[in-house]
């Protein structure tokens, strides 16, 4: 799968909720090649920040050749991005990583996102052909970015940290409360959520695919900055250390030691 370095153009930048922004980028080749669960590395225009920021693809429009990213402002890079006006040029590398493997057919898939792990679930939900349900965890009712858009793809169950909307608690609580059944989970979100899902799926004998995060430098597998412990010796590292940017970010939960 080819990786492109491109100068993408900001088509729009919209604030979705407090600190959460949505940028649509016009690309040359990236949109054509990308699949759900992959990410791009976004370079900052300010040159004191030298490393690109990994951001998941939230939507991929192959006709318009655009991609959409949704991100939370947490530091200098994302705060820079949040200020981009339409027509700003942004250097990006992508598509990166493996993405979700949709070749296996499941009876029902739970598409699960937590917090800023929700964005990639939108494109994923669009691409899953079979039966699916969506479970998302937000901080609170007024933080529910992308909710309406997800609802267009499937039934959506919500958990909120403060109980201000639907289930009070985690996505696991929402699954239990709504008695959701499925044979596979595809998820992205904070580590505690992924750990809980891994355990839940193991107990309930469900397949579980999770997207991991780690600090990255190269984004393409050369620096060994972004590894995660794996059960098996992987072909590349020989030391149970798979590269999240290359062998991941999506892993079969059974294969990683998180």
């Amino acid at each position: 799968m080819a990786i492109y370095k491109e100068e993408a153009i900001v088509l729009s930048n919209e604030k979705l909720s407090e600190g959460v922004y949505s940028i649509v980028l016009k690309t040359k080749d990236i949109a054509k090649e990308a699949i759900a669960g992959q990410f791009i590395s976004v370079y900052c225009n300010d040159s004191s920040r030298i490393l690109p920021r990994p951001i998941s693809l939230c939507e991929i429009d192959k006709k318009e050749n655009t991609i959409r990213v949704v991100f939370r402002t947490v530091g200098k890079g994302t705060n820079e991005f949040a200020k981009y006006e339409p027509n700003t040029k942004v250097t990006v590398l992508g598509p990166l990583g493996n993405g979700y493997d949709l070749s296996k057919q499941y009876d029902n898939v739970l598409v699960i996102g937590g917090g800023i792990g929700i964005p990639p679930m939108l494109q994923l939900a669009k691409n899953i052909q079979g039966k699916k349900q969506i479970v998302v965890g937000y901080r609170s009712k007024n933080d529910m970015f992308l909710y309406e858009e997800l609802q267009k793809e499937a039934e959506v169950f919500v958990a909120t940290d403060d109980g201000s909307y639907q289930t009070n608690g985690t996505v696991i609580d929402a699954i239990k409360e709504n008695k959701l059944k499925a044979d596979a989970v595809m998820a992205c979100g904070p580590m505690p959520m992924l750990k809980a899902l891994k355990e839940y799926c193991q107990k309930n004998e469900m397949d579980c695919f999770i997207s991991l995060e780690e600090r990255m430098a190269c984004g393409i597998g050369a620096c060994l900055g972004c590894v995660t412990k794996t059960k098996k010796k992987d072909h590349h590292s020989k030391v149970h250390n798979a590269r999240i940017c290359t062998e991941g970010p999506v892993f079969d939960a059974r294969e990683v030691e998180i």
Binding site: R215, L224, V239
Partner: protein, 302 residues
């Protein structure tokens, strides 16, 4: 116009090579750059056995640079010889293998194993700040530098480059010790030890607490050390540290480097190496430099 560099008897088509640990064994970046256009590829450090490296987070960004504490994760010399060397042999470029170890014996084992391999030079990493044993411990004491250089030199079949640490009071002393031990060349600088603290969690950003700083922020220190080293030894120098464009590369060459390694710049732009090759050519044309040799160490007072 001649951009070729004869370095320890080996011909480099141009002075631009990669910096160990930032370019894998070339495979990943070969999607962005034609490896045939590089003077050489320096591989990630390799040890006698697989090393699993440090826990994550291993990298962090800092102002104008980055910290890494990868800790020399590598698949070991066997996999390396089977997979990485054959890959690089597909290209018309020099292969320089970066060697690491916890003990002198481990270094020697790798060097011995490489004797029969088709590689052009060995770069001996005695300056990694991110491993508990070995690495930098060998590179901060002239006596230790001398000893390990001498022992490696005895058995090495390829020319050896000793890679020096900037975390020392006097880089000239270290370079002289390497020269006295028989090194064919020295390369510098490895990373400068730094630290980043997350003020919200009040914890270290890197699992290893400290990391090696690289990138444009360290360039002036690297230029100074290359200049000092050039005045102290007669063996040739590979200059590195924060080279991100051709201007930085020329600066390093004027300071006294015969070859330049490009590291962190690859993360900033995967095509950096090629752009630097082209920039050096343009510079030579603009200033009518017929042989790149003329530039090595050519800095002068105003």
């Amino acid at each position: 116009m001649n951009t070729c560099v004869n370095f320890c008897g080996i011909n480099f088509k141009n002075p631009v090579i990669t910096a160990s640990g930032t370019f894998g064994s070339g495979q990943e970046y070969s999607q962005f750059v034609d490896l045939n256009r590089l003077g050489g590829v320096v591989t990630k450090g390799v040890a006698n056995l697989p090393w699993k490296g440090n826990p994550t987070p291993r990298v962090a960004e800092v102002y104008g640079g980055m910290l890494n504490a990868v800790g020399l994760q590598n698949p070991g010399i066997d996999t390396f010889c089977k997979r990485d060397i054959p890959f690089l042999q597909n290209y018309d470029t020099n292969i320089i293998v970066n060697v690491c170890g916890h003990t002198t014996e481990e270094y020697l084992e790798v060097v011995e194993r490489l004797a029969s391999e088709n590689v052009d030079m060995l770069e001996i990493n005695i300056s990694c700040p991110n491993v508990k044993e070995g690495g930098i411990a060998f590179g901060q004491d002239p006596k230790a530098v001398f000893d390990i250089t001498q022992q490696i030199k005895k058995i090495a079949k390829q020319p050896i480059i000793m890679k020096l640490s900037p975390n020392v009071t006097d880089i000239k002393e270290m370079a002289k010790a390497a020269e006295a031990g028989g090194a064919d060349a020295v390369s510098l600088i490895n990373t400068i030890t730094g630290m980043k603290i997350d003020i919200n969690r009040r914890s270290f950003v890197l699992a290893n607490k400290t990391g090696g700083m690289s990138g444009p922020a360290i360039h002036p220190v690297a230029v100074r050390m290359v200049y000092e080293t050039a005045s102290a030894v007669n063996i040739p120098i590979i200059g590195m540290g924060g080279i991100v464009n051709y201007e930085d590369a020329i600066e390093m060459i004027l300071a006294g480097a015969s070859l330049v390694s490009v590291g962190t710049a690859n993360f900033m732009d995967p095509q950096s190496t090629i752009k630097i090759v082209e920039g050096i050519e343009d510079y030579m044309r603009r200033y009518n430099v017929s042989d790149i040799k003329e530039l090595v160490g050519a800095v002068h007072e105003r």
